[in-house]
């Protein structure tokens, strides 16, 4: 009896608690983080959620739902820890949704600043990484957003939604970014994020009190990297061309010209692109095979939609349009940035690993010379709820 009591007493020692216990009210949950660099120091901004403002139970006191802490240091980790100097709680990055990197830092190279994020045990590498275009990361995190009171959530969702429905943006999570940086024969891209409007008003509550926010944050352009340095931007059309080549289109709307004049919009519902490499008589070659399926969404020209021939014709036009966009995109990237963001080298390494080993070293010179063949097959399946457009009658 005494013995078992003793054992029980000893066991209670183990129950007294755990070294790594942290209560929720001791954590500053950050959902968005920004990295800037000024004078060899990393400036880290963390957008920390203010719990009392987002909780369902307690009434909001009218304060901002998030607050921004900043600290600078020699390394990202040091800066993050130094943040406890101005934050009452230790920053907990486990729920990070989005990481913003400033354009200046991206031009210098991003690799060094990413190591912490993949090494730290609290972080899951499934957050998006974006580049702040023409501005700093801290300014992007300093804008109040309508609908979503936490700007981090707005940035996360809007990237996710636009990637799925528009295809001109690309949500790249840390893992993919690191993979792109490492893979031979594929360079990285990141979506750009911009501030439109007055930055001063953006950070105040005033920004969300009016119907039209005077300042908003918006995704646009794709940042092209070479190695880990940003070398330039793709515009909207090129961004979509990029998505079309790399099979990141999930659904999108494309306006194509009618046979005579006007425009027709096609809603793409299924999309599949495959890039395969080949060696043809010693020179590398890339074949892009695209299969797309969609509906007609909007008709702005008098055209006879009751004839199967018209549909065939429209399919041809779409194929031609996409092919042009793809080639224009490839040309721009080749002539201006010479960075293989499409993964052509990787495609060749997959099909011809031995030849690729020889080619790998001077791929930068080969890449602009690679022959690109495209084969596009588009099918229009449905035309919506009406047959011929009423436009036909009006115009007569």
């Amino acid at each position: 009896m005494k013995k078992s009591l003793l054992v029980l007493l000893i066991l209670t020692l183990f129950l007294s608690g755990c070294w790594d216990r942290r209560e929720l009210n001791e954590l500053g949950i950050t959902m968005a983080m920004g990295i800037d660099k000024s004078e060899n120091q990393y400036v880290i901004s963390a957008q920390v959620v203010v719990p009392s403002e987002v909780s369902m139970k307690t009434n909001s006191q009218g304060r901002s739902a998030v607050t921004l802490f900043q600290a600078s240091g020699e390394s990202v980790y040091e800066a993050l820890r130094k943040m406890t100097k101005n934050s009452p709680r230790k920053i907990y990055p486990g729920h990070l949704l989005i990481l913003v990197i400033s354009e200046d830092l991206a031009k210098e190279g991003i690799a060094e600043s990413l190591d912490l994020l993949s090494r730290d045990w609290e972080l899951r590498p499934d957050f998006y990484v974006v580049v702040a275009k023409n501005t700093t990361a801290s300014e992007v995190l300093n804008v109040n957003t309508p609908i979503e009171s936490i700007p981090a959530t707005k940035m996360y969702k809007s990237l996710k939604v636009s990637e799925r429905n528009w295809a001109g943006t690309k949500g790249i999570i840390l893992d993919e970014l690191i993979k792109d940086l490492l893979t031979d024969g594929k360079e990285a891209v990141l979506t750009g994020i911009e501030i439109i409007g007055d930055k001063e008003i953006g950070s105040s509550k005033q920004n969300v009190e009016t119907i039209t926010s005077s300042t908003e944050i918006k995704y646009d352009h794709l940042a092209v990297f070479k190695g880990d340095r940003l070398v330039g931007w793709l515009n909207e059309e090129e961004s979509r061309g990029y998505a079309e080549i790399t099979n990141s289109v999930k659904s999108t709307v494309t306006a194509i010209p009618c046979p005579k004049k006007g425009k027709i919009s096609v809603n793409i519902l299924h999309y599949n692109a495959k890039v395969t490499g080949a060696i043809n008589k010693g020179t590398p070659e890339v074949n892009i095979k695209i299969q797309a399926e969609g509906d007609l969404g909007e008709v702005q020209c008098p055209i006879d939609l009751t004839k199967p021939k018209t549909i065939d014709e429209l399919e041809k036009i779409y194929e031609k349009e996409v092919e042009e966009v793809i080639h224009r995109t490839i040309d721009t990237v080749r002539s201006q940035y010479a960075s293989d963001i499409f993964g052509f080298g990787e495609a060749i390494s997959r099909s011809n690993p031995k030849e690729w080993d020889k080619m790998k070293e001077h791929w930068d010179e080969e890449f602009p010379e690679v022959t690109v063949n495209t084969q596009i097959d588009m099918k229009i399946r449905r035309i919506g709820t009406v047959n011929n457009s009423f436009l036909e009658k009006i115009k007569d």
């Binding site: 755990c18 070294w19 899951r124 893992d175 993979k179 893979t183 390494s349 997959r350 690993p353």
Partner: protein
């Protein structure tokens, strides 16, 4: 003491599965991917094949004298003193790996979950239940393994199913870039940790004395099932994380679990998946420790091994604290020195045993059944 212990072939099968998976489930994909990149899963298949051959060797040895543990076999075949010397080497291996696994599980927890908790606290907790299990005896260990294997397979299935939508077959290409020689070489680490070290299971083999044929089958099938699970895991790691990433991660299996995300709803369940590793690591530690104490007891011809458990357990904790100065050293040692040590004890010595047996066969067969040790 050992004569009274009986476990059935199914229980043995379960123990073999746990032993084979053991540490491999955590790091083998990373080690393989570091050397053969995309072909890690092929190396795992080759490793499993080689492993089965080795297990076949072990069972052949064990079947000569089904009632004897490996320690007793050594003494019988090599003679008293050489046999004891060989057995000491064997026991030292089992003892070393007990501590090594303790270090291992503590490092895993400390890296991924509880960074400021002292390692010693984690090790004492782990060793506490290991000592408890060994004191309660093999039958208890086997029965608890029987229960836990269900949990283990359910978790493994959840992991496999939940992560499979993220498989990208492009990550596996190009296939068969590395030559056969590199593939075999890289699989050595996997073979030693899951099959060569399985020699410690010969310590519990006599508990199956009545059903020797089935026991041999259990041993082989258990090793095969464990091997297949590691092949699946290597395949998943490479096809989801990619070869580069798999090689860079210290615990690729855990990284996979982190990545589970079904409709933004079923996610962040890696803590739950951590059970997988703990269960496997725990049983492997228990089996090493059991082999250590029983081995020492039999070398010294003690009547009971139980009095040894607590002191040896304390020693194991202490050793686990000083065995490796840091994780980098641990990785380095595990992939060089420990492989040779394992191969020496687990492959060279048994082969020597076979050769000696071939010479002394007739003399040994004639001698009467040995008196109970």
């Amino acid at each position: 003491m050992i004569e009274n212990i009986k476990i059935n072939p199914y229980q043995f099968l379960v123990l073999v599965i746990f032993f084979t998976i053991g540490t491999g489930i955590l790091i083998v994909p990373s080690v393989l991917a570091a050397e053969v990149k995309h072909d890690a899963w092929i190396a795992a298949i080759i490793g499993t094949g080689i492993g089965l051959l080795i297990i076949w060797l072990f069972t052949t040895i064990a079947l000569w004298f089904p009632h004897l543990t490996y320690i007793q076999l050594n003494e019988k075949i090599f003679g008293k003193w050489i046999g004891k010397a060989v057995s000491v080497l064997f026991v030292s291996m089992a003892a070393l790996y007990t501590s090594s696994l303790l270090y291992y599980s503590a490092t895993f927890i400390s890296t991924n979950m509880l960074p400021t908790t002292p390692i010693v606290a984690l090790n004492i907790l782990m060793m506490g239940i290991v000592v408890m299990a060994v004191r309660l005896g093999l039958e208890t260990i086997a029965r608890s393994a029987e229960i836990f294997i269900v949990v283990f397979f359910v978790l493994f299935l959840i992991l496999g199913v939940c992560i499979s939508p993220q498989i990208k077959l492009e990550n596996l290409q190009p296939v068969f870039v590395e030559g056969t020689k590199t593939l075999v070489q890289s699989s050595i680490y996997f073979v030693t940790s899951s099959s060569v070290n399985a020699i410690v299971l010969l310590m519990i083999f006599p508990a199956l004395m009545n059903k020797m044929k089935q026991a041999r089958k259990s041993f082989l099938i258990g090793n095969l099932i464990g091997g297949i699970m590691i092949i699946i895991l290597s395949f998943l790691s490479v096809s989801i994380l990619g070869a580069e990433d798999t090689a860079r991660e210290i615990y690729p299996g855990y990284e996979l679990a982190k990545r589970i995300n079904i409709g933004d709803f079923v996610q962040r369940i890696e803590g739950l998946m951590g059970f997988l590793w703990f269960i496997a690591l725990y049983f492997k530690t228990v089996l090493y420790f059991y082999a250590t104490v029983l081995g020492i007891a039999q070398i010294l011809h003690l009547k009971d091994y139980r009095p040894l458990t607590l002191p040896l357990g304390i020693i194991a904790v202490i050793v686990s604290l000083v065995i490796y100065p840091n994780v980098v050293y641990q990785k380095e040692i595990q992939q060089s020195t420990e492989i040779y040590f394992s191969l020496f004890v687990g492959l060279f010595l048994p082969l020597l045993l076979v050769i000696v047996y071939a010479f002394r066969k007739n003399k040994l067969k004639k001698s009467p059944e040995p008196e109970s040790p």
